[in-house]
């Protein structure tokens, strides 16, 4: 199965382990991913906040480049939720709004490009693995079932919503990732906050707002005794993982929930080497959880984590997950 692939900026930076693990499992899944040549940033939520028309033009350059490269393949796959939404939304609005399409194409013409709305379909990697590869094909590749690992499937916002092309089972309570994780042999938690917000860019703008949203998600996952959260989005992973320590300091809590990309868990079940899957790049160590299912991760000394305590307090014993 051949697809045009839009990686997005995070895949090569903060979400390196997402890219590593995707590359490690792509052959087993029969995915042929052809990177869109010289793609540019999708603008995340920032460009649309400041000026809409340039934002649509920015995203459309990617669609125009992809359509040129298409050669019979008209599906663009994105692995980042924000990239996926921006590409899908732009394609959708160019189809719906003739005036917008005209202006965007006038802008594209300044760079010698053009895009005809409807020439491409934009889909997220989860949708591709769930619908095109299929759970049966996934199951055939499982050599090390994730038996006994309690996984909280976390979709975040932008995959099930607004879902312009009706690809997912539910806007608020989708089950595709649940079923995929079950196919790997994991014990799937019925995670009530599975499509709640991770805080997005609020960590940079108004951190307490983000910390509260992060806390709610980790609290719920902990209440449901999840060993691990499986995510599909670089932003969700960054907020829940890299900001977990900041959030704990802010609320004086002690949550420790590792957050891995769903592709990393697929890779583990497929028997791939943990290091090749980028395991060890997470801030909240996933090794104790993975040790429960017999996965040994060889990690260099430098990754050992020092436990920090708030400076203003004496090191008193505290209840775990106190609120």
């Amino acid at each position: 199965m051949r697809y045009l692939y839009y990686p997005g900026c995070s895949m090569d930076a903060s979400a390196k382990s997402y890219l590593d693990s995707l590359l490690a499992i792509r052959d087993a899944l029969g995915l042929e991913l052809e990177e869109i040549r010289d793609w540019n940033c999708c603008g995340a939520t920032e460009y649309f906040s400041v000026s809409l028309l340039p934002a649509y033009a920015l995203v459309s350059r990617n669609l125009a480049l992809a359509a040129r490269q298409a050669n019979g393949c008209n599906t663009v796959v994105a692995s980042c939720s924000a990239c996926y939404l921006n590409l899908a939304k732009t394609e959708h609005y160019l189809r719906e709004d003739k005036a917008l399409n005209e202006k965007v194409n006038t802008a594209l013409a300044a760079g010698g490009l053009d895009y005809k709305p409807g020439s491409l379909e934009v889909r997220h990697l989860l949708d591709i693995i769930y619908h095109d590869v299929g759970l049966e094909a996934v199951k055939r590749n499982v050599v090390q079932p994730l038996k006994g690992l309690r996984v909280a499937p976390y979709y975040g916002c932008l995959i099930p919503r607004p879902d312009y092309d009706h690809r997912y089972s539910n806007h608020e309570y989708p089950t595709e990732l649940d079923k995929l994780m079950k196919a790997l042999g994991a014990e799937v938690v019925d995670f009530p906050l599975k499509s709640h917000c991770c805080g997005g860019h609020m960590t940079q703008i108004s951190a307490p707002v983000a910390y509260e949203l992060i806390r709610r998600l980790l609290h719920s996952a902990t209440e449901y005794r999840a060993d691990i959260i499986a995510t599909l989005c670089p932003m969700c992973q960054l907020n829940l993982d890299a900001y977990q320590g900041e959030m704990n300091r802010y609320f004086r809590t002690d949550y420790r929930v590792p957050v891995l990309f769903f592709t990393q868990l697929i890779g583990l079940a497929f028997g791939k080497d943990a290091k090749a899957l980028g395991i060890g790049r997470e801030f909240v160590d996933a090794r104790p959880a993975l040790a429960r299912i017999g996965v040994e991760v060889a990690v260099e000394e430098a990754l050992a984590r020092r436990v920090r305590r708030p400076k203003e307090e004496l090191p008193m014993p505290r209840m775990p997950q106190e609120e």
Binding site: A44, L158, S206
Partner: protein, 190 residues
């Protein structure tokens, strides 16, 4: 970008907002039920709930609306959009209001608009986003006191190979700049 005003009439503020949103926003269909505010994860931090803001738009309260922090607290989760019984595209309304507030220079706190602008500057110069440059430049301007506390995380990002020290530039940066320049001209002409 439908314009609701009938010919000859002066467009109202509601018309102005609707015209700024791509596609059919259905903003004029709001029945003031409040499902949006009740679904909003950052609702408690907003000075007006989305429902109240839409009533204010209809009442023509231009300055109050564009000064509101509501759109800036929108985390773009689309809960309100999928729950709205009138299918108002609320998240898109919020994006349009942010655009309008920036143009009118009416927002109160510049943290969010500045963050967006710093992000955009990187994209316009390199064609890609640059996390390290974005985080440091933004923090230096808006929360320098938070920097020492954030340093361990930044170092962690670097040592775990999760952050680049230098930005990456696309080959077609001149092409991208030409496209964006034309788009900005078109937007200014609106």
């Amino acid at each position: 970008m439908a314009v609701a005003a009938s010919p000859g009439e002066t467009p109202t503020f509601l018309d102005e907002v609707i015209a700024a949103i791509p596609g059919d926003s259905r903003l004029e269909m709001c029945i003031q039920c409040g499902t949006c505010g009740g679904s909003c994860p950052s609702g408690p931090d907003m000075d007006h709930t989305p429902r109240a803001l839409f009533a204010m738009i209809r009442a023509g309260m231009r300055d109050e609306v564009l000064r509101s922090n509501t759109p800036w607290y929108c985390v773009s989760c689309y809960y309100c959009t999928v729950r709205c019984p009138q299918q108002v595209r609320i998240t898109d309304v919020m994006y349009a209001l942010k655009n309008m507030a920036i143009r009118a220079k009416l927002y109160q706190d510049s943290t969010a608009p500045d963050f967006s602008q710093t992000f955009i500057d990187n994209v316009e110069n390199y064609g890609r986003s640059f996390e390290l440059g974005l985080a440091t430049r933004h923090s230096l301007r808006h929360s320098p006191l938070r920097l020492p506390a954030m340093a361990p995380m930044g170092l962690g990002m670097l040592s775990k190979g999760r952050m680049d020290l230098t930005p990456r530039r696309i080959e077609g940066i001149a092409q991208l700049k030409a496209i964006l320049a034309r788009a900005k001209e078109l937007e200014a002409a609106l």
